[in-house]
């Protein structure tokens, strides 16, 4: 299974390198025709290195892999919750959203004890507000 996943990641990086070299770098790098190291020189070199190393990984896969679909799905869910929280912070502010974001995270990992929930949902956001806004005098997002 590890070899298959290692090969898959090698294949991915070959495709990624080719996409970088032929699409992303030409499209998003201003070309200059003078100088030894042009704006596209290092990105192009890195794209080639990624393609060659990806090819090496495809042909002779090495290294360990700890990819677990169930855990990756849970991690993706948490990342989405945090991204949603950041989007909400941009609309309603940190003070309003942070307790809800903390509550969502704590509930999704199975925390049900009222005291710990209260600490995470009320205590920590208040402490952050106190340190950042009051002690450091910096605005919260």
């Amino acid at each position: 299974m590890d070899r298959l996943l290692n090969r898959s990641s090698g294949l991915f990086f070959i495709a990624f390198g080719i996409f970088l070299y032929f699409v992303v770098i030409p499209y998003d790098t201003e070309s200059v025709d003078y100088g030894w190291v042009r704006p596209q020189t290092v990105p192009n070199a890195m794209a080639w290195i990624i393609i060659i190393a990806g090819l090496a990984q495809l042909i002779r896969p090495t290294g360990s892999v700890s990819a677990d679909i169930a855990k990756m799905s849970r991690a993706a869910m948490h990342l989405l919750i945090v991204a949603g929280g950041v989007l909400a912070i941009s609309q309603f502010g940190f003070r309003l959203v942070s307790p809800l974001l903390a509550l969502a995270i704590m509930l999704t990992v199975g925390e049900r004890r009222p005291v710990w929930l209260a600490l995470g949902v009320i205590g920590i956001p208040v402490l952050i507000w106190f340190v950042v806004a009051v002690l450091l005098g910096r605005p919260l997002p």
């Binding site: 290692n6 190291v37 290092v42 990624i50 090495t62 948490h78 990342l79 995270i105 990992v109 199975g110």
Partner: protein
Amino acid sequence: MVDFNVVLAGLTDAFQLTNLLFVLAGVVLGQFVGAVPGIGPVMAMAIAIPFTFVLDPLPAIGFLVGVNKGGLVGGAVPAVLINTPGTPDAAATALDGHPLAKQGKPVKATKMALYASVTGDTFSDLVLVTVSAPLAIVALKMGPVEVFALMIFAFSIIAGLVGNSLSKGIIAAALGLLCATVGLDPEHSTPRLYFGWFELYDGLPLASVAIGMLAISEILRRLASTNGGMKSAIEIPVAQNPEDMRVRWVEYWSCRYTMLRGAVIGTILGALPGIGSTAAAFMSYASAKQTSDDPQSFGKGNLHGIAAAESANSAVVGANLIPLLTLGIPGSVGAALIISAFMIHGIQPGPLLFEQQGRLVYGLFGAMIMANFINLFVGQVGLRFWILVVRAPESVIFSSALLLCIVGVSMATGGLFGVSVMLIFAGVGYLMTAFGYSVVIFIIAFFLGPRFEISLSQTLVLLDGDVAALVNYPIAIVLLLLAIVATWWLGFRAAARQANKQPA
């Protein structure tokens, strides 16, 4: 050479009450987060950096060094008590620390870890103080061609040692360098890879990338593995024999050679970029076991095992700053974070640092030495408290850490755009770790990227594009040859060995 007055002025700065208080705060925070499995000093430093903006450089960097040093002591607590190292380098400590704790001597085990850690750390700091200034003078004689060759050498060591697969190490380094090219290119100042976001003209924010890949991706990994329950701590006896709650002088003194060997191993490995404290701890542990009269007792609660691991992993911290302060090359993620703190305060690490900021450097040295004594004092007082910290639920710890990361990056980057970048790199970091691509290599390459490109450009100008002109730069040739040897020895050979071990 640095003027002696500057040295004294710097050391005096370190003893100012404000600076000492920030070092103390850093050590307390470091021991606290080290004691919580899953957070660790690197994540704490990453989160803390934006909060140090409002401080002067010395208290800010002294605080971060305190977090780093305190974290190594704190990391031994969960390793000893629940066989779950708070930091990866404490894994070797658990080999003998946990069996000793199971024998009803958890306080003795954690205290031995504390004493050995402070001993190794102090040794390494003394080497740093005495060696770095002369090394910086040598480094000053190096021109762009030698610096470029040195960076190639550093990359070859990092790629070969940090990853367990050369091709994966190379891909991680290339990705780091690629991400470092976002923004204006250093030679022509033309924009590249910014995808229409003008916020990226200055490049990807280091705080966003570092916190996303190191802290958030680790939090995601831990959240995905947790079930909300508390970790099962070992039973700590309520009434312990007083002899089992302290380390006698005779016991400490009997470990002196073990600790000295550990400190030397940690200092040497720490001075080389990329090897890290985990390797030092295990190497020291193995050598202590090999040279012991009673190797069978290792793994069963031998104090020498704890002393070997802790003295080595702590000695790495000070030595890590040798390449950072003399060459501007971070030897570890912790050093990369400290270097970013330097840059945030407008200070460029490297050989000129001793000339331009000598007082700050010696202030930092003073703060590091003081941090060791504070580590000892806080550890003596706080160990019993950190033992309770091990029982804090992950749900509270990680939800708090997430909120701190959002606020910290928002402060560092001046808005939520940086937070969005942080979340993208959190996903990238999680996937890279899951598929075995080293995040550490990525971060170091990302940090070195702009300097690498500038020195490449300067080298080509100096050589006029003629590689044969390298014969005029013998040091560069030696460094490039060393890079080739290191890549072959540490990369291809290691990869071949691993490939032979893997089942078909």
